[in-house]
């Protein structure tokens, strides 16, 4: 199904209408982006085969031999730590006859042992030796030739590890661009500066629809007051939540460039965040820890953002930071997507005071996460319902285009190149599809 022959057959220029390419057109995306297996195959090559893709967090692999398994597009990989303590990303494919060498999602072991013929690989990917080695009597065949493959590039930013299947391209820092500052805000919220991802588990869901529907939705401020009305009405007695997503909201959507995007809830939420931090012993301890580590000014900014409570961040193409979690959108097929949400918890610095603070904040974070973002939460099921309906509606061949025009003429350009629009505008999606078009057109 995948392959460059099919990829070449997709004329992407005819599938995304973009006024910056042709001023005569509105901003529209063709239904084939969500329904055509050839487009999906081309995406796996041109996007997931090239760009930086998130593979896990450093806290998931604290010790040599600790590992998690994941996918880059459709390519199974293992994130692990070598005996020398270095981060390694390995292709999860036995160099002998192709079986995956790791089936578990997470664990700790000394070797990845292929169960088919017993080949064992060290965490750095080197083959320990052939089983029944006397059968490998050709002097030109050596165990050294069978080291597990690796993606050519691996880099991490503030503990979040990314890999690229392409040898060349922009650095991770260049790729993240304006998105990096929001990852900083999120990481800095930890009282100790340390995060824990993976050990707290994950929420998982899937839906019968294309992966891009979830990437679009994660930074869509337009749907909340419709899809999540029942939850938002119950969430806050003063309807603060509803105000955030109303047509009159002071909140913003931001096209950060490079396909990344942001919903910025701070114009409504920053003051309440700051008041809440002052109102309880736990909040005050949190603020004091941040002030000591970051200084008063930065601590205030960090608290007024409260990480993903203050924003939704899309890191192109398939990574979201929302509320208390990091979310990975995993394409399975053109009309099937799996999504994994990893709650991000805090780790104390080992002192009783710091560990207790982390424990208290973590319980709050977990309950807050489950309340909205689990498969039985107050928010995600409604979104899943919409995703299913979008894919169902896409079966109508007679109507070819999806519209992303909302707020196009009222967005403003910032000095850093970002474009700012109203909370409910579709600038984030335009950002995504501009980048999509550039990558797919090669």
């Amino acid at each position: 199904m995948h392959g460059s022959t099919e990829a070449a057959a997709v004329d992407v220029g005819s599938l995304v209408l973009c006024p910056e390419v042709d001023p005569a057109t509105p901003h529209r995306v063709h239904r084939r982006l969500y329904t055509d297996p050839a487009v999906f195959a081309a995406e796996m090559d041109a996007i997931f085969g090239r760009t930086w893709v998130y593979v896990g967090h450093e806290s998931e692999i604290p010790e040599p031999g600790a590992f998690t398994s994941t996918l880059i597009g459709r390519t199974p990989v293992i994130l692990t730590r070598t005996d020398a303590g270095e981060i390694a990303v390995l292709l999860n494919r036995c160099t002998h006859r192709a079986a995956t060498v790791c089936q578990e999602r997470r664990g700790q072991n000394r070797f990845f042992r292929c169960p088919y013929h017993g080949w064992s690989f060290r965490p750095d990917g080197t083959l320990v030796g052939f089983t029944y080695a006397d059968g490998y009597d050709d002097p030109d065949v050596s165990a050294d030739d069978f080291t597990l493959g690796r993606p050519p590039r691996v880099a991490s930013y503030r503990g979040f590890v990314f890999a690229s299947l392409a040898a060349d391209g922009p650095s991770l820092t260049e790729h993240l661009g304006n998105a990096a500052a929001y990852i900083d805000l999120l990481v800095d919220l930890s009282p100790s500066g340390r995060l824990v991802v993976g050990a707290p588990g994950e929420s998982r869901y899937s839906y019968p629809g294309n992966w891009k529907i979830q990437s679009e939705n994660g930074v869509d401020g337009y749907h909340a007051n419709f899809v999540h009305l029942a939850f938002l009405e119950g969430a806050a007695p003063d309807n603060k939540a509803l105000r955030m997503f109303a047509g009159t909201s002071p909140c913003r959507s931001v096209d950060l460039g490079h396909g990344h995007a942001l919903l910025d809830q701070r114009p409504v939420m920053a003051d309440p965040f700051e008041r809440r931090a002052a109102a309880t012993p736990q909040g005050r301890a949190h603020r004091a820890a941040l002030e000591e580590r970051l200084g008063a000014e930065r601590a205030r900014e960090v608290i007024r953002t409260s990480g993903g409570l203050g924003f939704n961040l899309l890191v192109y193409p398939n990574l979201l930071f929302i509320q208390y979690h990091v979310r990975v959108v995993q394409p399975v097929a053109v009309d099937r997507t799996e999504v994994v949400l990893f709650p991000i918890l805090f780790e104390g610095d080992g002192t009783l005071e710091s560990d207790e603070l982390a424990l208290g904040l973590n319980a709050e974070r977990l309950r807050g996460h489950e309340g909205f973002y689990g498969p039985a939460g107050g928010g995600v099921p409604g979104d899943l319902e919409m995703f299913r309906r979008v894919q169902e509606g896409l079966a109508v061949e007679q109507v070819e285009w999806l519209s992303f025009e909302r707020g196009r003429t009222r967005e403003s350009r910032e000095p850093d190149g970002s474009r700012v629009g109203h909370m409910t505008d579709e600038g984030p999606q335009r950002s995504f599809y501009r980048r999509w078009l550039a990558e797919m057109a090669g």
Partner: protein, 167 residues
Amino acid sequence: MSRSLLDPTVVDLVQHEAALLDERRLEDWLALFASDGLLWVPGRAGEVDPGCHVSIIYDHLPQLRARVTRLLSGKETAQDPPSRTMRAITNLRLVSEPDPGGEVTVESVQVLYETRGVGAPLLVLPARVTHRLRPAADGPRPEWAIVSKRIDLLEVERHFDNLAFLL
């Protein structure tokens, strides 16, 4: 510890609870819970530490009340149309003798069948359900109040679709 002969009022409580859910009488269902009652659907098998590991649902009575209000509001997109469910209950057994306060723990295997609207696929969710029950003086089912209901889904590791109906 397990006994084959269960107090019939315990059996009745577990079956009555399931019937209220299947009939979508959620306000009546809420009334079965003690004021410190908990509904817990762990996020992994054998979970012992919901403070450090994510659950699917971890609702004490106030959150549970908000959940029911939302589900019955007529505005919940995830329940439009609402789910139709059947809970089949089997292997009911007492797993702890009454403690000094008279509380007992009872376990059952429940298979939850769910569908919605017309033509939605049938979802089958087998689970081990653990009820912690406290003798209650009043309430619609006077014999017992639910201190906690824990639902351990057999397929807890899978990628779920819309589970808004799960209670």
